[in-house]
Amino acid sequence: MATIRISIPETAAKDEIVEIRTLISHPMDNGYNVDARGQRIPRHILHTFIVTYNGVEVFHANLHPAQSTNPYMVFHTVAVETGTLEFTWLDDDGSVFSDTRTITVQ
């Protein structure tokens, strides 16, 4: 199971811009690596990363083979209201990895 690490403030002032940092363990085989026999190791990457905030999409990344192993992403969002953010990664092989965090807005 991919280990996921997310750093996001637990509380924020209304409409404060907060920084979110995410890390998910994944080999991100870009399809250009080769094994000990020189044969290509097939592509196997996380191709999409979506973040919703109380159901509204606030960040959408299409990931490509150039994304390094263990994808790391830092982005921002406006703390509009207290609620739940859901982080979802979609894998080439169809599996889905997700996690949620809540944020309280005074």
């Binding site: 870009n30 000990a36 290509r40």
Partner: protein, 748 residues
């Protein structure tokens, strides 16, 4: 006669070295300019004036010419300044060399005069290329070094012209003196003015027929420092407050550490701390930390003895069972299967099937170690927002990049200082060791010099890959080849370092000197297999040609013998449409007294190849006793590198490559057992010593023109083949495996 006044005519220059005498060229008097023992870029001792990034002129007239390549014996600390001086018209006695700054290479783009002259474009870095490899120093730097000298010369002349109120064309520059009519002035006087002069048109650089200094065997600038022990190598760095680190990794490369008992040694004299090195996320074999443990102490010997006494339990690894025998068996098995195709011309299978005679030959070459005389070391000093890294770098920007990455610092704040290198041979262009030193320094928080023992240097080396090959050819009724198939299986460096450049299993560099052999054979098929193990690999002097020529050129002899031809004439016939190869072969024929008509136990053998633009042919003369005792009597080399910058240094490189190649084909090898390197010091890793040294003659067969071939490596590949082919004529036995010590040569 200066070699280069005779440009078009092809000629042969002999500079036999029996007593080191130079037939041509001359030694200028000892340098007036005093070289710095610390060769890295220093602010010139006196308030010197920088005319451009490549040269600064002191008030006393000393000219410091900066060198982008690393001085590891190949003479770039002399040959590169000669190229600048040729155009600058400086008094050579006033020239001294210092390294160009790796940090400045980062921060500054190409200078305007280089862009205006069309030599560099604006996106190139100021020093353009600071890695040293591929024997490319002269070929890849010549034009912008000549431009640096020419543009500085014209600016000095312009400054004098403006001061004297004359036209620049009326000012001449010769031996650091500017003159016009009865007025004279020195470069030093006009250096400051010259640094701000703008020229509307940049001067055009000279062509070889106009050279005066280039082509002369001037004395090496670094020799005075290397005969009194003052030259500074990486291992010699001493910084205030510096501590020492002895480090050890799992003997099975990239294996882990189960446990170590630091408390057991903390009380030993001088021990400061124990540091564990853990690979970061995403770091892998290509460039990353291996799990390792280091003892830090106030002297190296104390750090090392504590490390030796510290109980360490290495983890088991998936590679504990790997050994050379199985690796060779696996690679040889691949020779029976079609591989990734590199060359496919005509109908090779058909041609061989219909041939009068079919010839086959299998060959094998092991992993090989660089074994530079200076074991690996690196010194890193971190201050608040800056890091300085000192060492014997073959790729200073690479070392700088690695230290910046490991410390999470912006490369702009990292300064690499290159020392003299105690040998590089390709190994020091890999920078895992500066990364390791940076990680140790980060944890220690003081300047630290990391030094590897010879054993660590050998066991954690990035090896010259192993390879096996099978050749098959069909000969027509006239005994000449109608079809030729070569298949190589081996450990691929590209697959290890740049896997994305492997397209369906093909790595052309593994086929160097096999894919691009010179012979005019109608039907050719060349294919290959990648067979990598966990052993890291890297560039070794002449890379894969060092094994491929041993294999391919022996097979050419096998074809010659099967076809009833003299091996040298056989080669001449197949390269008769190639001017440079024919000149080298004919020179060899004449200079070596070539013959196969020799008494049993004596033999002459030939080997020829091209690498980095230079064709080198060699004839070896050997004696083999009945009991199989081999003596290399003489090696005669003929070389076409097009032009020579410094014949004495160039000859030294051919001789050096021959000795390095002999060490790797006679008895030296690296075998793997239990996933580890077996030969981990000079007791088991055999290298050629003075008592085994043959007579070596180097003959230049220069075709000039626009040929600028490399010299550091091309001299190596032919020697193993020449020796092996000579052994066949002496004993009737063909050593198909490197090193030759594995073959019983007894005869009669």
């Amino acid at each position: 006669m200066n070699i280069h006044n005779v440009s078009r005519r092809k000629f042969i220059v002999t500079s036999a070295t029996a007593a080191g005498g130079m037939m041509l060229g001359f030694n200028l008097p000892a340098q007036a300019a005093q070289m710095n023992a610390n060769p890295w870029e220093l602010p010139t001792d006196k308030e010197g004036q920088e005319v451009n990034a490549w040269l600064a002129i002191d008030p006393d007239g000393t000219v410091t010419i900066r060198v982008g390549q690393s001085e590891m014996g190949e003479g770039v600390f002399t040959s590169m300044p000669m190229i600048v001086a040729e155009e600058l018209h400086v008094d050579w006695k006033m020239v001294k060399a210092a390294y160009a700054s790796g940090n400045r290479y980062l921060r500054q783009k190409a200078e305007d005069y280089q862009v205006a002259a069309g030599i560099l474009n604006e996106d190139h870095q100021v020093y353009r290329r600071m890695g040293t490899g591929g024997s490319g120093a002269v070929r890849r730097s010549r034009t912008f070094l000549q431009q640096a000298g020419a543009s500085a010369r014209e600016r000095l002349k312009e400054a004098a012209a403006q001061a004297w109120g004359v036209a620049r064309a009326d000012v001449t520059a010769k031996d650091s003196v500017l003159s016009s009519g009865n007025r004279t002035g020195t470069f030093a006087e006009f250096a400051t003015a010259a640094s701000t002069v703008a020229l509307d048109v940049e001067p055009v650089i000279k062509t070889p027929d106009q050279f005066n200094l280039l082509g002369a065997s001037v004395a090496r600038l670094d020799t005075p420092l290397k005969v009194n022990g003052s030259a500074t190598y990486g291992i010699d760095i001493r910084l205030p407050g510096m501590v020492y680190a002895a480090v050890r990794a799992n003997p099975v490369p990239y294996g882990g550490i189960d446990s170590y008992d630091a408390d057991a040694i903390m009380g030993l004299p001088g021990v400061i701390q124990v540091v564990e090195i853990v690979p970061g996320e995403g770091q892998d074999l290509r460039s990353g930390l291996q799990p390792a443990v280091a003892v830090i102490a106030n002297s190296y010997t104390r750090a090392l003895s504590a490390l030796d006494q510290m109980p360490i339990k290495w983890s088991a690894t998936p590679n504990d069972g790997v050994n050379s025998r199985d690796l060779f068996a696996d690679a040889n098995a691949a020779l029976g299967m079609p591989g990734a195709i590199s060359v496919d011309e005509g109908d090779t299978a058909g041609a061989i099937a219909g041939a009068t005679t079919v010839v086959e030959g299998d060959y094998q070459a092991p992993y090989q170690s660089h074994a530079c005389m200076e074991p690996f070391n690196c010194t890193v000093h971190i201050t608040d927002n800056r890091a300085d890294v000192y060492g014997s770098f073959q790729n200073p920007p690479g070392a700088l990049a690695v230290v910046a990455e490991q410390l999470g610092m912006d490369p702009i704040n990292v300064f690499s200082h290159t020392t003299f290198l105690g040998g590089g041979f390709g190994r020091r262009s890999r920078n895992d060791e500066p990364r390791q030193a940076a990680e140790i320094a980060r944890q220690v928080g003081r300047p630290v010099k990391m030094v590897w023992t010879r054993e660590e240097d050998m066991m954690q080396n990035k090896m010259r890959p192993m390879a096996v090959a099978r050749f098959k050819a069909g000969l027509g009724p006239d005994g000449m080849p109608v079809g030729w198939h070569a298949r190589v299986a081996g450990h691929s460096i590209t697959a290890h370092i740049r896997p994305e450049r492997i397209e369906n299993g093909l790595d052309n560099s593994l086929l160097a000197a096999v894919r691009n052999h010179p012979y005019n054979i109608p039907n050719q098929l060349v294919d290959m297999h990648v067979r990598n193990s966990h052993i890291p690999v890297h560039y070794w002097r002449s890379v894969n040609a060092s094994q491929n020529v041993f294999m391919a050129e022996q097979f050419v002899d096998e074809m010659a013998q099967a076809g009833g031809h003299d091996p040298l004439d056989f080669r001449l016939k197949m390269v008769e449409d190639l001017e440079d190869w024919s000149l080298v072969l004919n020179t060899l024929k004449e200079k070596s007294g070539w013959t196969t008509d020799l008494p049993p136990g004596t033999g002459m053998g030939i080997g020829i190849s091209e690498e980095f633009g230079t064709v080198v042919g060699q004839v070896a003369t050997v004696t083999v006793s009945r009991r199989g005792q081999l003596t290399i009597d003489k090696i005669v080399a003929a070389v076409d590198c097009g032009h020579l910058v410094n014949p004495a240094i160039a000859e030294g490189q051919i001789e050096s490559a021959i000795v390095y190649g002999l060490s790797a084909c006679l008895a030296g090898e690296v075998t793997i057992s239990g996933g580890q390197v077996v030969e981990n010091n000079f007791d088991t890793f055999k290298v050629l010593r003075i008592n085994e040294m043959p007579i070596i003659e180097t003959h230049w067969a220069l075709t000039g023109g626009d040929k600028w071939g490399g010299l550091g490596e091309p001299g190596l590949p032919p020697v193993a083949a020449a020796v092996a082919n000579a052994i066949f004529y002496a004993t009737g036995k063909r050593p198909r495996e490197m090193p030759i010590v594995h073959t019983d040569l007894s005869w009669g």
